[in-house]
């Protein structure tokens, strides 16, 4: 078990050292998410539409689109110089590769989200601080589901020539249950409804998080193999 965790830790460490040196992933995700929000700000008349009604959808569109860039980049690193082959040759269970990549994707996406949330609050003039705890939990559940499925599908699409196109085509339809859940929960939080009154949405999102992780554990061996 120690070795298993150590191997996951090594993958996360390697991704962090690479990101510290290149600063490509976080900056690209942050700028893209910011641009998505700005485009919506300019295209929506907030004096007619209530910010708390359109805001949650826009926020999650920004997170997911930016996150897709991160996922694509994440497995591109492994394909460069056949590094994935090097990983496949180490005496590790293949799920360590999945969990290592999942956790590093999750951390990178969460960092980006923490920078975007205050900007979203300013641009849409919404007080997020009043609901910060529950909102962070919703963001956690949504990001986990996105990364769980996204990491699996980016490993699958990394072998394809058209990977940049295939990843969103495969990912977004399967993410619909999670997107519905987190957008509804974010909207209701902004309307002042307590999180405890949204148990069905929490249940839905958590269930899909677990399903995606479970399916990934069962299939990652076959997906990584050529």
């Amino acid at each position: 078990m120690n070795l298993y965790l150590n191997q996951i830790g090594a993958i996360i460490w390697k991704d962090f050292v690479t990101e510290l040196k290149t600063r490509e992933l976080l900056s690209a995700m942050f700028i893209f998410a910011l641009l998505v929000i700005l485009i919506f700000i300019f295209s929506i008349n907030l004096s007619i539409v209530k910010a708390s009604e359109v805001g949650p959808g826009i926020l999650w569109v920004a997170f997911l689109f930016a996150g897709t860039i991160g996922l694509n980049r994440s497995f591109m690193l492994e394909k460069e110089n056949a590094c994935l082959m090097g990983l496949m040759l180490v005496p590790a269970d293949r799920t360590t590769i999945y969990f290592g990549k999942l956790i590093s994707n999750f951390i990178f996406l969460s960092i980006m989200e923490l920078f975007i949330l205050p900007l979203f609050m300013i641009f849409f003039d919404i007080d997020l601080l009043a609901h910060l705890g529950p909102l962070l939990m919703v963001v956690f559940l949504g990001t986990l589901g996105f990364c769980a499925l996204g990491t699996l599908l980016s490993s699958l699409s990394s072998n394809l020539k058209t990977r940049e196109i295939m990843l969103p085509i495969l990912l977004y339809p399967l993410l619909i249950p999670i997107v519905i859940g987190v957008v509804r929960m974010t909207g209701q939080l902004l309307e002042g409804i307590p999180l405890l009154d949204m148990m069905k949405w929490i249940g839905l999102t958590t269930s899909f998080d677990i399903i995606y992780i479970g399916v990934s554990i069962m299939t990652i061996d076959h997906i990584l193999e050529e």
Binding site: Q7, E80, A82, C83, L89, D221
Partner: protein, 248 residues
């Protein structure tokens, strides 16, 4: 496992991609400490053979044991026994040699990753460049670092897939020296190459793979170098002809 005399036992090994037979019924044994060089024209299935033996891809039929492990089972214990060097380096370009090797040492579960990484970096003569980004390295330096990655966990069996590709004369000689040292340390080596002189110079056994099959397999002592060279060039020419016909 040490009692197992053969490092590799391959029987009727086949791998097809649709109608294309990349490996088409290969049989051979390789004893511990032996060095087999496999020659063959492009597209003969040499890389596919190595991928099967490393457990990177599944054969369509037949069986192969490496270090006493069935390659189809994907046993992590088998991966402790093997090291692979190919023309793709499997190194992270934005990390330094030390970071790359420490990463792979941790993935191999080595107890002192830093010490081991420093030792093999020294062995391949890259100590001066250990903190530079791999992206800045020449092809020869990359290949030396690739050797360091492959021998990091001190494997008993090494697979080398066209390791001389793109190397200049000096880098090629350095690589040869490393391979000789590994062979002297009784490491079992299977190498594919197009370089006749390097390949024949170092091996104990030589094979010629053509269209997925071993058209020739012999101990080096029984091989007439000129005859083998002629046979190899014939195979390459015929293969070129077949590929041109196929393209038309």
């Amino acid at each position: 496992m040490e009692s197992h005399e053969n490092a590799m036992e391959v029987r009727h090994l086949r791998k097809a991609f649709g109608v294309l037979k990349a490996v088409d019924g290969i049989d051979f044994d390789l004893k511990r400490g032996e060095f087999l060089t496999v020659f063959g024209p492009n597209g003969a299935g040499k890389t596919t053979l190595i991928k099967i033996l490393c457990g990177l891809t599944q054969p369509t039929s037949g069986s192969a044991e490496v270090a006493g492990f069935d390659v189809t089972e994907g046993n992590p214990e088998m991966r402790k026994e093997i090291g692979v060097i190919s023309h793709a380096t499997a190194l992270y370009a934005d990390l330094t040699p030390l970071e790359n090797l420490m990463f792979f040492a941790r993935m191999h579960g080595l107890t002192e990753p830093m010490d081991r990484a420093l030792k093999v970096i020294d062995e391949v003569g890259l100590s001066q460049r250990r903190n530079d980004r791999v992206r800045t390295f020449s092809r020869g330096m990359l290949q030396r670092l690739s050797i360091a990655r492959a021998i990091l966990h001190d494997p008993k069996i090494l697979f080398l897939d066209e390791p001389f590709t793109g190397l200049d004369l000096h880098a090629s000689n350095v690589l040869k020296e490393h391979l000789k040292r590994l062979h002297d340390r009784r490491r079992t080596i299977l190498m594919t190459t197009h370089d006749i002189s390097c390949g024949l110079e170092m091996c104990d056994k030589v094979a010629l793979q053509v269209q997925g099959r071993f058209a020739f397999l012999e101990n080096i002592g029984n091989v007439d170098r000129d005859q083998f060279e002629a046979m190899y060039f014939d195979a390459v020419r015929d293969n070129q002809f077949i590929m041109e016909i196929g393209a038309k």
